[in-house]
Amino acid sequence: MYTTLKIFVVFFLLGASGSLMAHELLPTYPKLEQSYVPNVYQTKVRMWNGRMDVEYYKVEVTDSEWNPVPFITNERTFRIKYMERKEIETVIPPDAKVTYICTRAMLEKGNPQKSVISSKVCSKIK
């Protein structure tokens, strides 16, 4: 009984301490693959939303100097519910030099109850 209670307390503390407020993007180093169109490449990254306070994220694709690069994806700003995973496919046009694919948390304006920490996690194409 005591052990069960201890486990519950540990999980409660983990939750309360913020382990359920996380943002993750995988893989670290995705690979560009040839699409069915010549010279057009595509890649996939997977995002997990462990942030209870954020439901909207934005995809950003940049070069090595953090300049925006043109890209195509289903939704640049997308909704992903708490504890859900999402696969993000990006298509890169010819001559675009992509280095980083990132997802950025979009915070709701004017809602003081929500967090004021904006998280951004990136994957890098080497």
Binding site: A22, T28, G50, D53, L107, P112, I117, S118, C122
Partner: protein, 165 residues
Amino acid sequence: MMYKLLVPLATSILATGAYANTEIIGSVDSKCIIISETPGVYGNPNPYQLTTAPTSGGVKPIIRYDVLVADYYKAVIDHPVEFTSAPTLDDVVNWTGDVTVSEVSDTNMSDYDTNKVEYNNSHEYDLTVSGSTWFTVSSTADYGSTKSFPAGQYTAVVEAECIPL
């Protein structure tokens, strides 16, 4: 008659051999997770000042970075330099802030603050050790030269980034 017994036996032995050679393959991939542990609150100790200092009624935001494999990521944390929402302000706001490592899961992370790179309002840390690192952000906004902030709700955002090396 002998063959009838031999064939199932041989098949059974071969199958057992194949089963014994079944491999379990596992790999550890690099991963970075940003965890917003404490959102942060501005205290208002003076009419012209908003600060996260706990002695002035504020709460410092705390962000945790978890990295699974060392030397794959860097953390970039920006302390605020503007309000994302505030009443109309007609004077300059002077911002100060800092980011420090407040807790580590591995003692080898203790030199993160010494090795960090600072530019503008950004604080860049190479995450050279796997595990968890807690970063505490402090922020202060002074309005004009001791001018009173108009009444209303003020929000500023801390940006926490995890960038692969």
